[in-house]
């Protein structure tokens, strides 16, 4: 039995805040063995990042730490700052979540890498520079010799994360703490970074402490899993056990809440119609979504079912014809969306999928009138909205509701909830005070919040609750079209599951059509009737959810699908090999 390289023993951390002490971590113990990947999983506020940071001595000043952290048997917490400093970077190093800000913007990459080597007397001068170039090549930066002289802003997010990793492995550490290393990255980049970490771990026999909220990442990387909740460990064990046969209800709940990207032949595709019927209570067998496999959206699912109450002659809720969008800056226009064509029928949900920079949110902005359309037509219920005179345009805006991504920013902090929900009525001069409040109560009921929140302010609500308020506001005027721009990507998984459930129910109840923008294929799979995949402003593929997500024709879609990790270690291992085969075939 080898000695653990890093071990936490009964760690307790509390923070002194304006409103008294807050216990963030309440007695946490676990070990990391050499060459082992231990994943610490939990939702926000579980204390997973705080726990792991204690090993680096990098906690804020107002934190009090008790317990013991042993790095190769040496107690870290009792060390002097100078001793601790010698360990940092050489024996234990760290990879952070946000690659965009983790590198010093005013220093060349070479300076920052060479510094990491020189600080620990590993190499100096020209030798250090050579070693740095080798490190960059090792982490997969092409043309490292010239690129090393560049500044961080000249690299992409994924490349910056590679540079941070190069810095972390520079002195051959015994253990690397990776704090949500891929959360800020696109799914394809995430897969590459995880591959890199895995290779490096095997090469250097380094222990990795991986902090993440993503069960897919856990399945992809971890040997052992520590599940944390409210500063305590609820369950720990080998990855197969935890993900396959979880004991603790919380772990089971977490896994259940994780949206799944189903593969063709997945039994749930068949069983789904039952689930929907049970839960929604409105559908019949024909209300199941993609399982029917009908290619034409109009006769698909709920639309045909009459829930939306439309006949097939009604104009599409939203239609884009050869749309091009551009951002103007100082009279220079940059085109970000080209030749976009799609149709969303009444009562239909269309998922708009893509990675960052694909232009998917720009499309949502244009539909909302936040951005002018450069070319083409954007028809809402048959009329080209951008070309309408102001008055008619405003009237048409009644038909569009919106839910944004950030629960912290999408509600005006100075408005009470009641005013937020009724604002669309005020703007369109509808109803009087009493009828507005009645409508607000009705909607709060629909999103299952007590009507007592009418007089509360947004900061008193949790993120998930605020997103539900956003949905309520979007529905105030009974719109025929809802634009949802990444409505759940800022939420924890379990909250996301609840919000998506609610969303799906409301869609059946109110029958609105929806343009659902998301980077998460699994979420789209769970919700949408059809899917449009975008890359760099162009349409890659569109069709029914089943067609696109399970029988993708385009290689980009296939890559996207292959890169999304699933929370099952065996399946994920198989998918990984498949993905590598796919990439090899493409190269």
């Amino acid at each position: 039995m080898p000695e653990p390289v890093l071990s936490y023993k009964d760690i307790r951390v509390s923070f002194a805040t304006e409103f008294g002490d807050v216990d963030a971590v309440k007695g946490v113990s676990f070990d990391v063995m050499p060459g082992e990947v231990v994943a610490v999983v939990g939702e926000s506020g579980s204390g997973k990042s705080v726990t792991s940071s204690t090993a680096m001595g990098l906690l804020p000043e107002n934190a009090t730490v008790n317990g013991e952290v042993l790095l190769e048997g040496k107690s870290v917490l009792t060390m002097s700052t100078a001793e601790l400093r010698r360990l940092r970077g050489s024996d234990i190093s760290m990879v952070f979540q946000e690659p965009m800000t983790a590198l010093n913007p005013v220093l060349r990459v070479s300076d920052q890498l060479v510094e990491a080597l020189q600080v620990h007397d590993v190499a100096f001068g020209g030798e250090a520079l050579e070693k740095s170039i080798a490190l960059l090549e090792r982490v997969g930066i092409p043309d490292a010799r010239t690129k090393i002289k560049q500044y961080p802003h000249q690299f992409s997010g994924g490349q910056r994360q590679r540079i941070v990793i190069a810095m972390a492995i520079a002195c051959g550490p015994k253990v690397i703490i990776a704090d949500e290393p891929t959360t800020a990255l696109d799914v394809t980049v995430q897969a590459e970074i995880l591959d890199l970490l895995r290779e490096l771990k095997d090469e250097l026999n380094t222990g990795i402490l991986l902090i993440t909220h993503n069960m897919g990442v856990v399945a992809d990387m971890a040997d052992r899993v520590v599940v944390m909740l409210n500063g305590e460990v609820v369950e720990t064990g080998p990855v197969a056990t935890i993900l396959g046969h979880p004991e603790h209800p919380y772990t089971r709940r977490l896994l259940a809440a994780m949206p799944l990207l189903r593969e063709a032949g997945d039994p749930s595709l068949e069983s789904e119609r039952v689930v929907v019927t049970e839960r929604g209570g409105v559908g019949d067998s024909s209300s199941s979504r993609t399982a029917t496999g009908v290619p034409d959206g109009r006769s698909n699912g709920r639309a045909a079912n009459g829930v939306a109450g439309t006949d097939s002659d009604a104009p599409p809720a939203l239609e884009a014809k050869d749309v091009a969008l551009e951002y103007k800056f100082r009279r220079k226009a940059t085109r970000v969306v080209h030749d976009l064509n799609f149709t969303v029928q009444p009562g239909e949900i269309m998922g708009l999928v893509g990675e960052s920079g694909s232009g998917k949110s720009t499309v949502a902005k244009a539909v909302l009138g936040l951005l002018d359309v450069a070319e083409g037509e954007l028809r809402v219920r048959g009329s080209n909205m951008p070309a309408l005179p102001a008055k008619e345009k405003k009237a048409l805006k009644r038909e569009i509701g919106v839910v944004f991504q950030d629960p912290a920013a999408s509600l005006d902090p100075r408005f009470p909830i009641g005013d937020i929900i009724t604002e669309p009525m005020v703007v369109h001069k509808e109803g009087d005070k009493n009828s507005r409040m009645a409508r607000a109560r009705e909607l709060l009921d629909a999103v299952r919040l007590p009507s007592s929140v009418l007089n509360r302010y947004p900061h008193e609500l949790s993120g998930g609750q605020r997103q539900r308020i956003s949905i309520a506001r979007a529905l105030t005027l009974n719109p025929t079209l809802l634009i949802a721009d990444e409505p759940t990507s800022a939420l924890d998984v379990s909250v996301q599951a609840a919000v998506l459930d609610l969303f799906s129910e409301l869609q059946q109840q109110y029958g609105f059509a929806c343009l659902f923008v998301s980077h998460d294929l699994a979420v789209v799979d769970a919700l949408a009737h059809k899917v449009l995949v975008m890359q760099k402003g162009r349409t890659v593929e569109q069709g029914t959810t089943d067609q696109v997500l399970r029988h993708a024709k385009e290689s980009y879609t296939q890559q996207l699908l292959a890169a999304a990790p699933v929370p099952n270690p065996e399946v994920q291992a198989r998918r990984r090999t498949e993905r590598q085969r796919l990439l090899a075939a493409l190269a």
Binding site: E18, R85, A257, V402, A409, V427, E460, V495
Partner: protein
């Protein structure tokens, strides 16, 4: 949605959310923003002491000689009436009872200096408030319009701002002051005109604030639902920048006190026979060696007022500015301050600690937020060339 193995009843999935909802239903109302601001402000000791001092000075100046300045308060002497200089005009305070006949002494023609200083304080405060008010109103108007509408409206407004900024503030204020001397209305007219020179800082600050609020999703939501720009600016943007505006206005009062006294000292401010603290110093600066009190009293009043207002502004910013989060027991005690208790080294600080963004009060032109870049005369390199 939860179509996955292992099958768990949906109620259980939602329970995390339900727990939150239950908490919401049962929870006491938490602190409102106003309460938080008040709580933090009253925890800022220098600000509270300054507040008390400022209230004392205001009450003293108003109750003592009244608004007319003709003995309508508890101090019967007029600031205009000359008289016999007693004992070389030495202050009688604490020498001859508590106040004596002339607590602050007399000037060379025997006027009661206490009454004059009180009158000067009134006038200086009046001008400062007027300047702060007019410059804030104008600055908010220009800043909000420029920030919201962009395009040619912004271009025109920002060019006007540049024109005003390029003349040194004191010089422009002096020119406006000299111009206002020929107009009726006395002190208030003067204040409004000086305000015409000092609004640019507020305008740039508000514009920066509005620009950042434009990116907020609740503003996007309001635009998307078809709300009128006036509604968006008045209902969403200005209420959400009120903290910045109030803090800035407070510092503007302090700056205006100094500006007014300086202008009066140069002769472009309050005109005789009316008086102000600056004019008093100007009239008596040569008496420094012979009758120092004529110099000291108005000076100390200026400092007391400006210092209090600055500290109040500091306290307000600490309380309001969301960028400035003081975590932990607000400030360390004196023992820690003197290094007698183990003080954490800077090394142990990291992460989400104290973030004090803006500096202190600024002399005359508060830079418009540290990220906003210079009085750009036509071009801003931060916008175009930033590659990310």
């Amino acid at each position: 949605m939860s179509q996955s193995i292992p099958p768990i009843p949906p109620e259980d999935v939602r329970s995390a959310t339900e727990a939150e909802d239950a908490k919401l239903a049962s929870a006491q109302r938490s602190y409102s923003q106003g309460q938080l601001v008040r709580r933090r402000f009253f925890a800022h000791k220098p600000a509270v002491v300054s507040m008390a001092a400022l209230i004392f000075i205001i009450l003293l100046s108003i109750t003592s000689i009244g608004f007319s300045g003709q003995g309508t308060g508890w101090w019967s002497k007029s600031f205009l009436a000359t008289g016999l200089t007693v004992d070389g005009g030495v202050p009688t305070m604490f020498r001859d009872g508590f106040l004596g006949e002339h607590p602050f002494g007399q000037d060379s023609i025997g006027r009661d200096y206490f009454a004059m200083v009180m009158r000067g304080t009134q006038q200086s405060l009046l001008v400062a408030l007027g300047v702060a008010l007019s410059s804030t109103v104008l600055g908010v108007l220009v800043g909000a319009l420029a920030g919201y509408f962009r395009g040619w409206i912004e271009a025109v407004l920002m060019r006007i701002t540049d024109v005003v900024i390029v003349v040194p503030l004191l010089a422009l204020a002096a020119v406006f002051g000299a111009y206002a001397q020929g107009l009726p209305g006395g002190t208030l007219t003067l204040a409004l005109f000086i305000g015409l020179a000092t609004w640019t800082g507020t305008a740039r600050l508000v514009r920066a604030e509005i620009l950042s609020l434009r990116e907020k999703e609740y503003v996007s939501a309001a635009i998307a639902m078809g709300a009128h720009p006036a509604r968006i600016i008045l209902k969403h943007m200005l209420p959400n920048s009120i903290g910045v505006i109030v803090v800035n206005a407070t510092f503007a009062i302090a700056a205006a006190i100094l500006l007014e006294t300086t202008l009066s000292y140069l002769g472009f401010g309050v005109q005789a026979p009316e008086t102000s603290l600056g004019a008093l110093i100007q009239n008596n600066q040569n008496a420094f060696t012979t009758r120092p009190w004529l110099f000291w009293f108005p000076g100390l009043f200026i400092i007391a007022i400006a210092l209090s207002v600055n500290f109040i502004g500091d306290g307000l910013r600490d309380a309001i500015d969301p960028r400035q989060k003081r975590t932990g027991s607000a400030r360390p005690g004196w023992r820690t301050a003197f290094g007698l208790l183990g003080q954490a080294t800077a090394e142990e600080r990291s992460g989400k600690q104290v973030t004090e963004l803006s500096g202190g009060p600024t002399q005359m032109q508060p830079p418009a937020g540290m990220t906003d870049h210079g009085p750009d005369l036509g071009y801003d390199p931060t916008d175009e060339k930033r590659d990310s």
